[in-house]
């Protein structure tokens, strides 16, 4: 380098000149509404409990409303199961287990599971619409992710049903009995598939409780199960809130509890089953670190970060909610994130162009807003995109915080919304220490062009799932689950069979 002074000066001048540069994303070409038609979905006015292969009135005689979070309008009302209903369902599941399901040849079991998978595919459009109506997620996601992945899960585990002796050579995989399964509101149908498919494939029977804000696709799944002619009692679906879940967890004739939800509830369940013979798997909260190194393909990393935190309004336990970006590229990455955020469309979940739909409930929106105000009070710098929000319904703009400290609550606690906390780092060791400095350990992301760095980090990060140069990728063949307070047990893949079997020689 012959001259060093001059180019530096000219570069400074260029920086001064370009500081005011801004791309215009809010003017110009806007997209006309392109809503998916509701007419392809049929929702009953009222749903009873699905027990022993038929729809039964609840012993409680009570029903509660399920609403569309995008309009706050009532969609339907569903039965509230009490302890007596749980008794009936568990008894039906026990009988089905003893008399039918455990004795059935595995190839026959597989046929039923394959059938469920195919009917899900046939009804994909209707299921996607209902999932978006009831939960608020954009139709693009329920159509392209939730429903097809749910079908794939059934297909995958149907395939294992008659091959368990190859999965566990020289040992005998025995079913456990009746599984009580409690699922969250963020991926209602998909979580039902994650729970039911491996349980059935291994010969267990099921009592499933969907979340109280999103019961409809699970009830549609009950209709599909009826259509598939599954023997009565093999799958029972009970709607209700926390008390229903508690009755299920505490029922003495349950052999296995599978729970996906918050860490707080996970701890309650853990306490409740201590001293019993019940087997438990818990898939709980997370506060995933997404780590961008300076040598990463930045534009693709930015896209990965965007999808990592804004996918499903950030209602994802493995969401990449803590971004660690290497100091030298922090400014550029933040600029790119802000540009990308301005093309995200928030609004009607049924609109095919919507990127971010409605927050699942008023309660969750309040939680998110509470954390946003905490972040501001903690001194972090908030940025939100300036998109227009609908007048009705529960909506939240995509938001990011810069100048976040490791000790801030927005960097430590799970927000479960479209809020990203950005922190910077200098060295590999530093970022590994910071990333692991959390009570959670569900997932993490690493962005670098260097393979050796990927292996170094994946070895040292304490997280159940680590993505390299991508994020939020799911496959039925790949196990999913956490460390530490993110829970234990794995779902998906060959590992996903283990929580539902006893291995004997």
């Amino acid at each position: 380098m012959a001259t060093t002074k001059k180019p530096i000066r000219s570069k400074k001048a260029a920086v001064a000149k370009t500081n005011s540069i801004k791309l215009k994303f809010d003017t110009g070409w806007t997209y006309a509404p392109a809503p998916e038609s509701k007419s392809a979905a049929s929702i009953n006015k009222q749903y009873d409990l699905f027990i022993n292969g038929e729809w039964q009135k609840p012993e409680s005689r009570k029903y509660f409303d399920t609403i569309n979070p995008a309009t706050e309008e009532k969609l339907s009302e569903v039965a509230e199961a009490n302890a007596a209903d749980v008794n009936k369902a568990v008894a039906a599941a026990r009988t089905a287990y003893d008399k039918v399901w455990k004795k059935m040849p595995a190839t026959e079991r597989a046929k039923y599971i394959f059938r469920i998978a195919r009917i899900i595919q046939e009804k994909a459009r209707e299921l996607a619409i209902i999932e978006s109506l009831d939960g608020g997620k954009p139709i693009r996601e329920s159509r392209d992710f939730d429903v097809p992945t749910a079908a794939n899960h059934f297909f995958y585990y149907a395939g294992w049903a008659d091959k368990l002796e190859y999965a566990f050579p020289n040992r005998k995989a025995q079913p456990l009995g009746v599984a009580g399964q409690i699922i969250p509101w963020n991926f209602p149908l998909l979580m039902a598939a994650w729970k039911i498919a491996p349980a059935l494939a291994t010969g267990n029977t099921v009592v499933l409780k969907p979340a109280e804000t999103t019961p409809l696709t699970a009830l549609k799944l009950a209709e599909i199960i009826q259509e598939a002619d599954l023997p009565p009692g093999v799958v029972n679906i009970l709607t209700g809130a926390g008390a229903t879940g508690a009755a299920l967890v505490n029922h003495p004739d349950i052999n296995k509890i599978a729970f996906t939800g918050s860490t707080d509830v996970g701890k309650i369940i853990q306490r409740a089953v201590s001293g019993t013979n019940k087997r438990v798997t818990l898939e709980l909260g997370g506060k995933a670190a997404n780590i961008i190194f300076e040598d990463a393909p930045l534009d693709q990393a930015v896209e990965g970060v965007i999808n990592g935190i804004f996918f499903n309004q950030g209602h994802v336990c493995c969401a990449g909610s803590r971004l660690y970006v290497q100091e030298s590229v922090a400014k550029e990455v933040i600029r790119k994130l802000k540009d990308r955020m301005s093309s995200l469309l928030v609004g009607d979940p049924l609109d095919k162009n919507t990127d971010i739909g409605a927050i699942n409930s008023k309660q969750q929106l309040d939680t998110i807003l509470k954390y946003i105000s905490i972040g501001k009070k903690e001194g972090a710098e908030m940025y939100e995109s300036n998109c227009r929000l609908p007048n009705k319904g529960f909506f939240c703009r995509p938001t990011l915080f810069t100048n976040v400290a490791q000790s801030n609550r927005i960097a430590q606690e799970e927000i479960f919304g479209p809020v990203l906390s950005i922190l910077t780092f200098r060295t590999d060791d530093e970022v590994i220490e910071k990333a692991n400095n959390t009570p959670y350990g569900l997932s993490a992301g690493v962005w670098t062009d260097k393979g050796s760095k990927i292996f170094n980090l994946t070895k040292r990060l304490r997280a159940g799932v680590i993505w390299a140069n991508t994020f939020n990728k799911f496959d039925p063949g790949s196990p999913f689950g956490g460390y530490k307070e993110s829970g234990y047990g794995r779902e998906g893949g060959l590992h996903g069979l283990l929580p539902y079997i006893e291995l004997t020689s």
């Binding site: 001259t3 540069i21 006309a32 392109a34 040598d295 393909p297 896209e303």
Partner: protein, 313 residues
């Protein structure tokens, strides 16, 4: 990017040349995923109509054949000015793109229409000629009235890592262009990786390109959405770095309206409203125009018309 060498341009301004060996890295899987996301946008009603009109207005109507004749070029020019007179009020295309020997004919035919004449040059499409021949080729086109010059880079030198050669050649052609705007064709189908597409884009922009362009149309694959995305992102980074806007021209392989609209969505969401004009975005295409016209006619009448209702120039 670290700066390695300095040079003085003609105007005496000191410009710096980045180290092109360390251009940003591109992840192929990520680019392809992002590009496919644009195709998920659903364009209806006015959005579609405005988009189609914009696409028509961004087309560089092209004929680059050994068998081109003056008559064919004149017909093409008429089509450029009157895309489909059965539908009044349509915009014209942006430019007519021809070989240097046809520039004079096109220029005369398009007189007063506002439509630009673009000429390929620099031993298009292979670029296999010495620099002085390329410079003469360029000067000939400009002297005959070309408003825009579409050059090809020396892919052999690029692959050999002689980035300074490629840079200097583009700068020399830019100088030969005078007032004509320079489009630099990277021929992405011969570059092989997105990393190299990004590197060639950076070289071209730093060397003085007004537009970067994917392809000659003579090599497969020609323009694709992922490759165009990589170039649009290079343009965006360059804009933030220098404040200078660079145009983009995907060419070859875009023959359907729907695909062209996906490209517009991509421009809209990567570079924003400023680039949604034919000053900064073009489609190099010959058969796209008729498909756009067919869609516009359908929007007007509600019915699809047979291909024979649209002139095949």
């Amino acid at each position: 990017m670290p700066v390695t060498t300095d040079r003085k341009s003609k105007t005496g301004q000191l410009t710096s040349r980045p180290d092109f060996h360390s251009t940003p890295r591109i992840d192929q899987v990520g680019v392809e995923e992002r590009a496919s996301r644009f195709t998920k946008r659903s364009l209806k009603k006015d959005t579609k109509l405005n988009g189609l009109r914009l696409v028509l207005n961004m087309i560089d109507l092209t004929t680059l054949e050994g068998k081109d004749t003056e008559g064919k070029v004149k017909q093409l020019c008429y089509k450029a000015m009157h895309p489909h007179d059965a539908l009044p009020g349509l915009p014209t295309v942006a430019a007519v793109c021809v070989y240097p020997t046809m520039v004079r004919v096109a220029k005369k035919a398009l007189e007063g229409s506002g439509i630009k004449v673009a000429s390929v040059a620099t031993a298009f499409p292979s670029g296999q000629a010495p620099r002085d021949v390329k410079i003469r080729d360029t000067k000939y086109a400009v002297a005959n009235g070309a408003d825009e010059v579409d050059m090809v880079i020396s892919r052999g030198k690029f692959h050999a890592g002689e980035y300074n050669f490629v840079f200097d050649e583009i700068a020399a052609i830019k100088e030969a262009c005078g007032h004509a705007r320079l489009k630099v064709i990277l021929e992405t189908g011969e570059l092989g990786t997105f990393d190299k597409v990004r590197r060639a884009s950076d070289i071209a922009m730093h060397a003085g390109a007004d537009f970067i362009k994917t392809s000659t149309g003579k090599i497969q694959p020609a323009a694709t959405m992922p490759v165009t995305l990589v170039m649009l992102e290079a343009i965006r980074d360059f804009y933030y770095e220098t404040g200078k806007m660079i145009g983009m021209k995907p060419a070859g392989g875009i023959s359907k309206s729907k695909l062209a609209l996906h490209y517009l969505v991509m421009v809209n969401e990567v570079l924003g409203a400023d680039w949604l004009t034919n000053e900064w975005f073009r489609f190099g295409a010959s058969s796209l125009a008729n498909d756009v016209l067919m869609q516009l006619a359908k929007e007007a009448s509600g019915l699809y018309q047979a291909g024979n209702y649209f002139s095949a120039d």
